[in-house]
Point group: C2
């Protein structure tokens, strides 16, 4: 996958939102990329080599198929592309949760394609100057090509963490759940001060700025589609309410 | 204050907690420092020049007197040292709120001493490798020596923000109020993940680590002694509760 010998492998990228565009820029040097976005008929493409807009059928017929649509649309998409996939293709998703997408892909995609779940723990904001050094989670689903995928991602300079979808969702319920909850609450308070600030507040504001422009579908995936998110949220709100009572006594 | 000509000025540092010790390290090269801590009879001093433990009377009789005790103890301390202060002395506090300490110092300290309120927007954690580049707020209270103080602090490499106690408390109610609230809630949730983390979560955790070891007196000053803290807290908890309802629908 992506080595010199396989340079001409085709990669179908389905979904061309903020993350899909980052993926295209990152992968353009390694694959013949075919982009399709069911939600964007008239997208202007950035000037990248090996990058052209195509039909869903063409993108789904590639050697490697990356599903970069919102988690809530994954089941529908899998149903539509199932008959279009090439035998022996490798299908990957990039969703912010893993238990649900992995189950959907396993159930809906044909038995003769390999499947790998991934979650890049970065986005257009945090990886603005490149993906090197950032983390990505890889969940083996069907077949053993997750090893090739992990090796390729390491070659890109990423830190690869291979684990189960369940372990991912447990840990990310805290990591992303709390970050997005706190960001959402702080953004709701209006513009944050930037003059008399402490180092810790500067870090907090930087964290908020990194996720405040994430599309609503990301918050939805993190807070609603992660089976462990409600428990973490509950603990956060309970802790907040206990602290409120203590301070207002 | 602190220039070559005035190198032999005496500075009485009253209070030798974590911040008092940082102040002593930072100021030792510029003053003949006399440290007194009413709460620590047997403190082991770090080896610093111009640094010796002394009586409250001796510390309060210096050219410059820095009050580094918890805000809640400031009124009592001012009452005790009022008759010990030298005519023309400069008295400064370093508390995390300013409206209350400034009022107390103005009311309780004798009319013939100059007074400046300060709030160093850093602590032993954030300024572990030095105070250079950090921020400090200076509030003029009585006399015009706040200008000398500001010039000296700039000479130390600090960014000086001069403003009123009221402006300080309004802005810091958000800056410190929110940071400490969030840190307190997160610390209460137990150990935070450090494996599958995003850049924004890493920043959040770093912010929490910076304030998690602050003494309880700091949280008390920030949340209880700042007249604007309750309003900010209320807005945060209301925002959290609204978000909770939206997500649990």
């Amino acid at each position: 996958m992506g080595s010199r010998r396989e340079k001409t492998q085709t990669l179908g990228l389905i979904g061309f939102g903020a993350f899909g565009q980052l993926a295209a820029r990152t992968l353009a040097a390694h694959f013949d990329i075919r982009v399709c976005d069911p939600a964007r008929a008239h997208t202007t493409l950035p000037c990248g080599r090996s990058l052209r807009m195509t039909t869903l059928e063409d993108a789904a017929g590639c050697d490697v198929v990356v599903l970069a649509v919102p988690v809530a649309r994954l089941r529908h998409l899998c149903g539509v592309i199932a008959p279009m996939l090439r035998k022996g293709a490798l299908v990957l998703d990039v969703g912010s949760v893993k238990v649900l997408p992995v189950r959907v892909m396993r159930e809906v995609l044909p038995a003769d394609v390999d499947i790998v779940g991934t979650h890049p723990l970065f986005g257009p904001q945090s990886a603005a100057s490149g993906v090197q050094g950032h983390k990505i989670v890889v969940c083996p689903v069907r077949g053993d090509r997750h090893r090739q995928v992990a090796a390729f991602l390491r070659h890109l300079g990423l830190q690869v963490i291979t684990d189960t979808a369940d372990a991912h969702d447990r840990e990310l319920a805290v990591v992303q759940g709390l970050t997005h909850l706190i960001a959402k609450v702080l953004v709701g308070l209006g513009p944050l001060p930037d003059r008399m600030t402490t180092a810790s507040f500067d870090l907090l504001r930087e964290a908020v700025d990194m996720v405040r422009d994430d599309p609503p579908t990301v918050l939805h995936a993190i807070e609603v589609s992660n089976p462990y998110a409600a428990t973490v949220r509950e603990a956060f709100f309970t802790g907040a309410s206990e602290l409120q009572q203590r301070l207002d006594m």
